[in-house]
Amino acid sequence: MSGAAGRGPAGRATATGALEVRDAVVRRGEFEVTVDLTVAPGEVLALTGPNGTGKSSVLAALAGLLPLDGGTIALGGEMFDGDTAWVPPETRGVGLVPQQHLLFGHLSSLENVAFGLRARGMRRREARAEAHAWLERLGLADRAHLRADRLSGGQSQRVALARALAASPRLVLLDEPFAALDVRVRDDVRALVADALRELAIPAVLVTHDAGEVETLATRELSLR
């Protein structure tokens, strides 16, 4: 049920490898930003800065949704985006927790969380069992069979977290994931996420405006201007 230290909930070994971004040129429309960073497994890099500095675009580039205009992105030595290399998002194994949760509203929370597992070929029953474990961990087991578009904002965000983490990603990208949460719930969920990230032992990039979050979750900070 709840994962022991050093393993994910199902006891699957997770791949380790550092995220290395060199002179990456991220352009969206007329806007452009150049980024250079390294995140080791188990580290959480907080990406901060005023609105409009391209933080979400950087996450999109890391996820493979926005090709770079220059520079490289590599994870665990594997080149994701470079002059000759391109790995599409489906095979990067990057978990994304977007700002507006973007849950698949027509599916239940259970099916949302199981989505990544099933996409990678896990059988439905197994995937659902693992998804259930994650939902329990986040205190949402009683909402397992509810359609995702019926969840509250805070519940949706937690399911979105579970959905990304359950798929055993090699890198996790979080775009202000706790902003929609109730203050009382926020601390609990933050602690859960911190635990999970530590267990998964993967690099994580967290976009946030909250100094407290940077304080408690992040190991380093990079500010975009």
Partner: protein, 278 residues
């Protein structure tokens, strides 16, 4: 808006919402124009003989043929039309606007032109039909398949445009998230995209069915008229008009009833989806 807050009684708010006469009069005229002919049909119907006229073999035959072919045409339209809509909406076809205009063309063409076009392609001396006949001995005109082809030709665009509109209005970020979770493009289409446009697919399918059911010009030109094989309800009504308007009215009532039934079965949220995506 703010003027209608607090302190007003319900009656007052209703009064301030009365539409201006300049809109009300023509609007009501339009409504009456649409409703009166249908009403007249109901009034003039030979109600006492209705069952007798309708329950005859030839009529049941035409009705069954119409329902069968319209359903098949709708299914074909779904199988072919949804992928086309996807290609259109995602801009994967060269010549974008031209392709969309081409898809719209059968909707604006007089149906009989569609029939002539189909004959030019698949008739016995047609571009393809000539070879189909010579090499395989296959002739398409005057068969039930020809009816389905004619109906599909005129009704497929309705489905394509409905789904195309919905796909273009879709938030692509859901598909992005699905990709990051490791779903192949086909899995994303099947589990994320398609369910999200399901209302538009449903509404498009209903429109498609209704158009196929009522199709006449292309059918009689390309498929001909033979009881049980190609004599659909609209053709039966047309020929009935030649001899007995009463019979024609009776048959028309049957078609009106079926169309009304289809619309009732259509869930109201699909109609809303149709309104917002076309």
């Amino acid at each position: 808006m703010t003027a209608a807050q607090g302190g007003r009684r319900p009656g007052q708010r209703a009064r301030s919402g009365r539409p201006p006469l300049v809109l009300l009069v023509p609007g009501l005229a339009a409504l009456i124009f649409l409703a009166l002919p249908l009403l007249a049909l109901l009034v003039r119907a030979p109600w006492s003989d209705l069952v007798e006229i309708v329950a005859t073999g030839p009529v049941a035959q035409a009705l069954w043929l119409s329902l069968r072919t319209a359903t098949t045409a709708t299914l074909v339209s779904l199988v072919l039309g949804v992928p086309l809509a996807w290609l259109l909406a995602r801009g994967r076809l060269p010549g974008g606007g031209v392709v969309r205009a081409l898809v719209t063309l059968p909707m604006v063409l007089p149906p009989v032109v569609g029939g002539v076009a189909l004959l030019s392609l698949l008739g016995r001396r047609g571009l393809l039909g000539e070879h189909l006949d010579a090499w395989f001995g296959i002739t398409i005109p005057f068969t039930t398949s020809a009816v389905v082809l004619a109906q599909t030709f005129v009704s497929l665009p309705f489905l394509v445009l409905s789904v195309d509109g919905a796909l273009r209005g879709l938030d692509r970020r859901y598909e992005d998230v699905s990709a990051t979770l490791g779903a192949s493009r086909w899995t994303t289409f099947r589990r994320v995209t398609l369910p999200m446009v399901a209302p538009a697919v449903g509404a498009g399918a209903v429109l498609c069915f209704a158009r196929a059911l009522g199709e006449f010009g292309a059918t009689i030109t390309f498929a001909g008229n033979f009881p049980g094989t190609t004599r659909t309800m609209p053709i039966a009504i047309y020929l009935a008009m030649e001899q007995s308007p009463q019979a024609a009215i009776a048959l028309s009532i049957v078609l009106v009833a079926i169309s009304a039934l289809v619309l009732i079965l259509l869930r109201s949220r699909w109609l809303t989806a149709l309104g917002s995506t076309t």
